[in-house]
Symmetry: C2
Subunit: 96 residues, 2 copies
Amino acid sequence: MIRHTVVFSLKHAAGSPEEAAFLRDARMLASIPGVEDFEQRRQVSPKSDYAFSFAMNFVDAAAYARYNGHADHVGFVRDRWVPEVERFMELDYAPL
Amino acid sequence: MIRHTVVFSLKHAAGSPEEAAFLRDARMLASIPGVEDFEQRRQVSPKSDYAFSFAMNFVDAAAYARYNGHADHVGFVRDRWVPEVERFMELDYAPL
């Protein structure tokens, strides 16, 4: 089991319609095969200035790789993530 | 509900007895009042060079603040975290 997380900030103003549209449209990532327990969270630690995070589980590295290569994921990255995300960091977790 | 996470790397060599002792002893954090769903995870994304993460839930900001100020937490930070952790980053999540 791998918990894939990405923490990010958007180019859009906080509370803007563009921000809401990005978060709404990103929910389609949950329907890509292999994605389990998809979550959208707000990053709230004052020690970090990232604003949001997405998280999802994959049963194994092969399922994660299929997601990465899936046309819906590739298209989302190209059409929404790259143009609208200001900066991000990926962190993935496996049980100790 | 707040999911408090910290991602970190240790000064100890990977696979060393000191690394194992730190992770073992840190399990006591789970017994501090207010800590729920405590997890220790390995950070596995090749896009990050952090090695480990701890995560825990708090029912609200007050429970989180009580944990931060609890003597067992303060002592752990002073006696183990500061001397043994090379670098770290905190990220906290709340539902959107």
